[in-house]
């Protein structure tokens, strides 16, 4: 397959994936915005005013980058896991598998859909947050790199989950029992400097901590950890998951008999 043909295949998949989540926007785009409004009302206006300042910022400003990141992570992941598993379940994944489309384009196609949804939701949540916070973006490039890498990482992770999944339960186990706890414990709502040394060390094993802090640094200029190290770690995690996903597609795990 020539490069131009591969590009068409990628474009086809991206359009198909984007059309899918736009078609069901009441399930994909609206709920995260409503959830974030509730977070801002509760943590910003109601509880936030009693908490006071966190790392020199009022609480609503402090949690805003983490909440945006949380929406990006959840939506990137759930878009790919549900779409890819849907393809498997209805067997129309075979439409792609019988075609000459190479595995890296298949991966890129699904990831582009996940990133499109993650970034669009991230944008909507950011616009929503403007009504509840007064933060300004300090380092736009860091914000951009972090959000792109994080969205890509969780889109790939969603595909890996979907490859292994055999039932609909299997696609909700990881988000419920792994992703949500890691996100909540990833410094979205607090600075890890509030934790004891032991729990600070434990927290550093949580990859989401690096994403939230790098993102917060981009917005507010503060971080619990070294931002360069955080970006390198996110990049390496993304690379690792891409290698795993390509290996699974190559071996045809749960896809080819």
């Amino acid at each position: 397959m020539k490069a131009a043909e591969q590009l068409i295949a990628l474009q086809t998949m991206t359009i198909r994936e984007t059309r899918r989540f736009l078609r069901i926007w009441t399930q994909t785009l609206l709920p995260p915005v409503i959830t974030m409004v509730l977070y801002f009302v509760i943590f910003g206006s109601l509880i936030g005013s009693r908490i006071g300042q966190m790392d020199g910022f009022n609480y609503a400003d402090f949690v805003a980058p983490g909440l945006i990141m949380m929406a990006v992570i959840t939506n990137s992941y759930s878009n790919v896991v549900s779409s890819f598993f849907g393809h498997k379940f209805q067997r129309h994944i075979e439409e792609i598998l019988v075609s000459p489309t190479p595995n890296y384009i298949i991966l890129a196609g699904f990831v582009s859909g996940g990133m499109a949804r993650g970034l669009l939701v991230g944008l909507f949540v950011t616009i929503t947050s403007v009504f509840f916070t007064d933060f300004q973006i300090q380092h736009p490039l860091i914000v951009l790199i972090t959000v792109l890498l994080t969205s890509a990482l969780f889109s790939v992770a969603g595909l890996i989950n979907a490859v292994f999944a055999k039932t609909f339960d299997d696609i909700s186990i990881v988000p419920t029992f792994i992703l949500t706890p890691l996100t909540y414990l990833g410094g979205v709502f607090y600075s890890i400097s509030l934790l004891s040394d032991f729990w600070q060390t434990v927290s550093q094993a949580n990859p989401i901590l690096y994403m939230v802090n790098a993102f917060r640094y981009g917005f507010l200029g503060i971080s619990d950890i070294n931002v360069t190290a955080a970006l390198v770690i996110i990049f390496l995690f993304t690379l690792l998951l891409i290698v795993v996903a390509l290996h699974l597609l190559k071996t045809g795990k749960n896809l080819r008999a």
């Binding site: 043909e5 068409i8 198909r16 075979e94 792609i96 598998l97 019988v98 000459p100 008999a257």
Partner: protein, 317 residues
């Protein structure tokens, strides 16, 4: 001329240990209309699955229009259009989008994919349904949609896995006409089917596969030439309680006014009619009991079964 499909020593053993293919060899020439016949579980779908990469072969070599699938599967896939047995499209997607999207997976520019989608949806009588979601189509329409989707990149080799299963007679006939038309235009067609009448009326060559082995590979004509008897059903004006005396024709009562008779190859039917006349019977109508290829098919499978049993007994001894 390079063969459309060349398979040598192809084997497949699934993870559960089931040996679906035991080293088959098969060649399909360009422009052929080829039938792959066999009972359920014989290895037909496994063979097709390997050709379209949904099943990984255990051993052997496959070439599609001279391209080895181990060397350049994407190039080989460009030659193949596949119509699977089960519906495998997005039930929520529109008919037109399904076909156009498939073109995209083959690297076709959007305007060309749309043009081809229109061409094949019109040919297959689905153009009026183009904006409907595929789940609203009838079973026959869904099958035709899969054919349109398989043709969008205009493959040289079209593989159909039981395309007319569950399709009514009228629609089956119209699909046959369509397949004959695209075969006449140069597309090589491989067909698996349970309807042996379909293979007999459409295909020039046939391979019979059973228990992972090809037990016969020849032209349909030469296969039928080997058939040494034919069974007829004859309807009479008279009614009778028992079989009339028809020496050499093994008459069996079908109902009170119909008989089943077996005619040996080379025996003129005049002799049968003379005997019927002598018995004072008047023939109202006459027809073949079953498809001729079906008889051959069943006898071959029986012979293969007996051979397998005797081989295993010899090994046991």
């Amino acid at each position: 001329m390079t063969a459309a499909l060349s398979i040598s020593n192809l084997s497949k053993t699934y993870n559960n240990g089931f040996e679906a293919l035991k080293g088959i060899d098969l060649t399909v020439e360009q422009g052929d209309f080829f039938a792959l016949l066999g009972p359920n579980g014989a290895g037909k779908s496994t063979t097709i699955g390997i050709l379209c990469s949904l099943v990984r072969k255990s051993a052997g070599q496959v070439e599609v229009f001279g391209t080895d699938i181990d060397q350049n599967f994407p190039k080989a896939k460009q030659h193949i259009g596949i119509v699977p047995q089960e519906f495998n499209f997005n039930a929520w997607e529109k008919v037109f989008d399904i076909v156009v999207t498939q073109g995209g997976y083959y690297g076709m520019p959007l305007p060309l994919a749309k043009e081809r989608a229109e061409k094949y949806l019109k040919k297959l009588g689905l153009w009026e349904k183009r904006d409907q979601s595929s789940r609203t189509l009838s079973g026959g329409m869904k099958r035709r949609l899969m054919i349109a989707r398989a043709l969008v990149h205009e493959p040289n080799l079209l593989i159909l896995d039981e395309p007319t299963a569950g399709v009514d007679i009228e629609l089956r006939r119209s699909m046959w006409e369509f397949l004959k038309e695209i075969n006449a235009a140069g597309t090589t067609i491989i067909l698996t089917t349970h309807y042996l009448e379909e293979a007999e009326s459409l295909c020039r060559n046939v391979a019979i596969i059973d228990q992972g082995n090809i037990i016969r590979n020849s032209s349909v004509k030469s296969l039928l030439r080997e058939l040494n008897k034919e069974t007829f059903i004859i309807d009479f004006e008279e009614e009778f309680d028992s079989e009339p005396n028809l020496p050499g024709y093994q008459p069996k009562l079908v109902d009170t006014s119909s008989l089943e008779v077996v005619v040996e190859k080379g025996t003129p039917l005049n002799d049968l009619f003379r005997q019927l006349d002598a018995e004072g019977l008047h023939v109202r109508s006459m027809r073949n009991k079953s498809n001729r290829l079906e008889e051959m098919f069943v006898s071959m499978l029986d012979a293969n079964k007996e051979k397998q049993q005797s081989d295993s007994q010899e090994q046991g001894a």
